[in-house]
Symmetry: C2
Subunit: 416 residues, 2 copies
């Protein structure tokens, strides 16, 4: 019996709650949140501690050249492709303990339990702790998974900086991943990717379900809408002579919100940011800019919706003789999870008497990066009150364990 | 013949355009605007230069203890009350050359021309350059006129500071008006106040009129409206589960705007300032605060309107289970100008073949401070494109002269 197998057999009992707390200690904040940004000190500590724990528990570990950490349970079939499972280790600023972290820990625990019960799998399983997904330090997202698929390389980041003007490549080097040593870490040996994650919404909780079997990850489009009216004296300008950008923005927002509800129950449209100019109580606002974020799992619904509202915007601009400019600055296509495995996951959940439902992910996840290349699936556990990206993020141990239980069985089906 | 009369007779010819330019040189900015804040260096220079010019042209001048400058053309009837005419010398930050300044210069010129034609009046006429009206340095308005009527005294300003944390009383002392010397500058000898001012709106221009005979100055009420919803993830929160403060604000603003148009053509309602929280594109806004400024010349219309919209706000808050708080932070009553003199001014304008109309002032003016105590009137000349509080503020020399011409005749009627 090799050293890894000895470790795997003699390991201490894992405890999901303790491990979540332990991982959250790297980057913990005074508000009981977690801030663990790509290539920061707390990020380095977390990845190194994860590597050490994986080694202690008998996995073969290695980092790729951008800082993705892999922990391997080798398959008995040396030629077989890899089943990859995991999530991202980075967090937003003042984030919670579960987003990303749970997916890494759940995958790690599932693999340990599989070995306990069944020994080595036929196909190699790798647990991954992706270096970056959130885009919370540098203005890019999915650096970890997009390197793994080959969508990104150093060219993508050579000019970008964080808010302290530290170059991406400098930060990377300082964290021990010297860009000079970069060779594309693209992986062509991965057969499937499987991720488990907290929902970050309230659908499962509202529907009293323990498991969400994700069928699609939405496409996202983001726009900036700029309304140019006329800034005027609030007392001396009769209503009929005004070109009030705040009033026009209000009409557009009311319209686009109603239209989103009307077109499809799964469509979401959000105006989260508004800037008013000059923004003083006694002056009619001459200019308003607002953001518009729209998401749906079908490109044709996004097309239909955006065409409908922007043609109405155009009409309103003409009617009011005001200038309304719309510019798009993000376009992420929707993706489908592997349909056959969705069915299998449903069946496994049913056999285990877990309450579950199919669900669409409204947030982006590493899974979406893989989904257009290889069969990919995503499983959700509930988020209390739908809260995420916040120190209050919470999922009960019972729900965390149900997720691990399901994931274990799904991995068994895929790798044994 | 006394020294004043000699000066009055031998004076240089006045030129309104030159005098406007000259006064604007005190506090002129690199953007060709004027910034002349209460008790600042440029303010001191302007008041001193005005005093000197008034003296050179034969008026008896004096400052009261808060820095209002008076230039007197004494009446032959020593017992007669005073006809006061003028406006304010202070400006907003980056204001124009006409707001306030024109009223001082026009009154000054009118008095000179009256003396040319008719000699000394029966009743004393005083030209006033009020120290402050705009509220642009310290958080209070009408410091000049409200001291003259006795509405304000030192108590009102003892704790207030400008944005550089300079105490009002310090600034006052530094400008040469030592608060230790303060004795109420209340004036009980004033029979009437008459002000001429630029319209600061576009009504006269749109209607092709040279003169606005003001019948009322509007009442103003200002409110802060605070909407508390729920901040949520823009992707994972279905539309039906949202308590989106931006969407609710948009409904309220659309509603209050339509209702204002519906209730009365003279009613204006303005949301000029909005603050959104957290104000990021991919988060449903949990909180919005907006300002609401409403104005009309009849208190009952303001009452009816505010009751209508706030009871609807309450209903909306209940329907949406969101918290909507309304707090009022300004309440200025509407005032009427002296009705008989309005008729006389109309008649005089008609005799002079000036195009004119009755008009409601949507902006506040020194005239409103006097109007509840003594017969008070206000005359407008047009503002090009309705622009004011801006370096682009402009009124043609022809229109400025028509205003002076009218003012001169009205003063003749009142004082001779």
């Amino acid at each position: 019996m090799d050293i890894h197998a000895q470790k795997l057999q003699n390991r201490e009992k894992e405890n999901v709650q303790e491990w979540i707390e332990w991982l959250s200690s790297f980057g913990s904040t005074k508000n009981e949140g977690v801030t663990r940004l790509l290539y920061s000190k707390s990020w380095c500590q977390a990845q190194q501690a994860l590597q050490l724990k994986m080694e202690q528990y008998g996995l073969n570990t290695y980092f790729d050249c951008v800082g993705n950490l892999f922990g391997k349970l080798p398959g008995t079939d040396a030629e077989s492709p890899v089943i990859l499972t995991g999530s991202h280790v980075d967090t937003v600023v003042e984030g919670g303990k579960y987003d990303g972290a749970y997916g890494i820990i759940a995958s790690f625990i599932a693999v340990l339990r599989l070995f306990d019960t069944y020994g080595y799998p036929k196909k190699t399983i790798e647990v991954v702790s992706f270096c970056e997904e959130e885009g919370s330090r540098f203005p890019l997202t999915f650096w970890g998974s997009r390197n793994t698929t080959g969508a990104y390389d150093l060219d993508r980041v050579k000019d970008i900086k964080d808010k302290d003007a530290i170059l991406f490549l400098e930060a990377m080097k300082k964290a021990g991943f010297d860009p000079a040593q970069y060779q594309t870490p693209i992986r062509n040996d991965i057969e499937r990717f499987l991720e488990i994650h907290i929902e970050q919404g309230m659908v499962l909780e509202k529907n009293k379900k323990s498991i969400g079997v994700v069928t699609h990850i939405v496409g996202q489009r983001r726009y900036q809408v700029r309304i140019k009216g006329e800034s005027n004296h609030a007392g001396t300008t009769p209503m009929m002579y005004r070109k009030d950008a705040v009033v026009t923005a209000s009409h557009l927002i009311a319209f686009l919100t109603n239209k989103a509800k009307e077109i499809d129950a799964d469509l979401v449209a959000t105006v989260g940011r508004m800037e008013i100019s000059p923004n003083v109580p006694n002056v009619v606002a001459g200019e308003v800019e607002f953001s518009l974020d729209i998401r749906h799992h079908k490109a044709e619904v996004l097309n239909q919706y955006s065409e409908t509202i922007f043609s109405e915007f155009k009409k309103i601009a003409e009617d009011l003789q005001m200038d309304i400019q719309v510019s798009q600055w993000m376009d992420v296509s929707p993706v489908s999870m592997n349909g056959e495995l969705v069915k299998d996951i449903r069946n496994i959940a049913a056999q285990k008497n877990l309450t579950f439902q199919e669900i669409i992910s409204g947030a982006g996840h590493d899974a979406q990066v893989f989904a257009s290349n290889i069969p990919t699936n995503l499983i959700f556990v509930p988020s209390q009150d739908g809260i995420s990206h916040n120190p209050k993020e919470f999922t009960s141990v019972k729900e965390l364990e149900m997720g691990i239980d399901l994931l274990t069985e799904v991995l068994y089906k895929l790798a044994y």
